[in-house]
Amino acid sequence: MAILAVQGMSKSFGALKVTDDVSFELAPGEAMGIIGPNGAGKSTLFNLISGNLRPDSGRVVLDGRDVTYESAMQRCSSGIGRSFQIPQPFDHLSVYENLLVAARFGGSVSAAEAPGFCMDILERAGLAHLATHKAGALPLLNRKRLELARALATRPRVIMLDEIAGGLTDAECGELISTIRAIHAQGTAILWIEHVLHALNAVVSRLMVLNFGRMLMVGKPDEVMAAPAVREIYLGIEA
């Protein structure tokens, strides 16, 4: 059975349909990439799945349970973790405390286990040396790392990553890929919105293409990237 199933999801802002009848399933432990031009409704889809936005119609089913009417914090506790495209750190808390909140609430980690648990994630995300720094003072790159680390601290069964590879150097991107592969290897299902295709293709086994809120195509990465329709809308190449 799918760990996450989205069925007939639609959302409009006024006359603009930002998500239009999107349906897909994610198998346990599967990694799927989501691509599409700017404004295709990728982040909106994440907000609908995480519960930050209410859909006009459609359902979200997590591990066989309908969570469409659950709040964002309930869904987090049930196992949906997310990062934000524009980082949303808790500015006045330290980097370590940012993770501690996530671990103690969404992750239900005990008080005794939480410190070691959080430091371990910080080390993997390359933030351990900044643990005591205030999150509000971090530069953009480390804010993105914190987004990933904080989402991991909620102990998600499905983690949704929203453009975390943009702006990284090749070496940093390589580190990020190995971090995400390690998450994947532990059995966490991944939904990943990304414009950096080589990073995406190093991890995911399927790609979904969104355009004007509609699902254009789903399939193996090389098949999807070879499809004329995708090349036209995504790469701007005439078929």
Binding site: S50, G51, N52, S71, A72, M73, C76, S77, R82, F84, Q88, P89, F90, D91, H92, L93, S94, Y96, E97, N98, L100, V101, A102, R104, F105, G106, G107, V109, A111, E113, P115, G116, F117, C118, M119, D120, L122, E123, A128, A131, T132, R150, A151, A153, T154, R155, Q186
Partner: protein, 350 residues
Amino acid sequence: MKNALGLLSLLVIVAALAVVPLFGLRALVQDLFMVLCLLVLALNWNMLAGFAGLVSVGQQLFVGVGAYVMFAAAILWGLDPLTGGLIGGLVAMVLSVPVAFFVFRLNGAYFAIGTWAVADIARLSFSQWQALGGGTGTALPRGAARDMPGVQLLREVLGVSPAAAVDMLTYWLALGLVVAMLVASWIFLRSRMGLGLQAVRDNPVAARSVGVDPVRLKALVFLLTAFATGLCGALIFIQTGRISPDAAFSVIDWTAFVIFIVVIGGIGTLPGPIIGVLVFYGLQRLLSDYGTVYLIVLGVIGIVVMLFARRGLWGGFTQWTGVNLLPLEHAPPKRPDTGIRRNTRSVHGE
């Protein structure tokens, strides 16, 4: 080490304050009583605005309700004022439930105005309570305060007049309330819920996405501060002995001054309100002969601090020196060798 020193100095200050009534003049005891009560109110408002992000301009609602219920208990039901004060605090807390139901639908400035409006509705409603003097108010019956448990004992042990014994008792209760507020705030803010609360204050959307329920935490703080504020309101008016709707529900005395104290001292820190109340008291003593000028100076100082020292005097001090009394931070565990790292990794396997 620094923390132990800070804690010790706080204990010394509390002990010094505790013995003041044994030596001090009654005027000083009465002054300090009001300082301590303002500090209780400031610690409560700091919890609301500084930690829960609830900028209320209506906390005089709970001061007034606590005080009026205490008066009702003493005059109408024949209870002693201390029991009445406790009931006052509880009634304030119960009242905060329907109030929260209305004002929690509002955010930011709308929330502030909403709380103010509710407090003013209460002021007007209580001025209709003819049994307690309506709009002009009333006084505690002679002897009501003197019948409080403990007053007789103080008179016998210390050989003081009844009025002085009442002053002493209310003073010590106010001091006790300050200590209880400080200890309770510190424990709460260092707890899991306190951490969640600070996350909500910084970013409610992200807090929801890591599993924190903002409404539940904010409602809890609103409820508990209503209780403590109501208790403090009752205590103030036991000592004053007279009540009127305008005095009990005064937005200037119980909210504007309190906001000034917290902002000057350092909002969102525990020692901030303590520093703020000292500055406020000093200015009051210095400028009380100049009437209106006093309020103008307070306003100007408030504006200057807001513009140039946003984190208040204490916030600026900690930034400057690195010294932090009553720190709220959770320190990350020390990791000297990498062996420990491998052991804790098993947590992920669950």
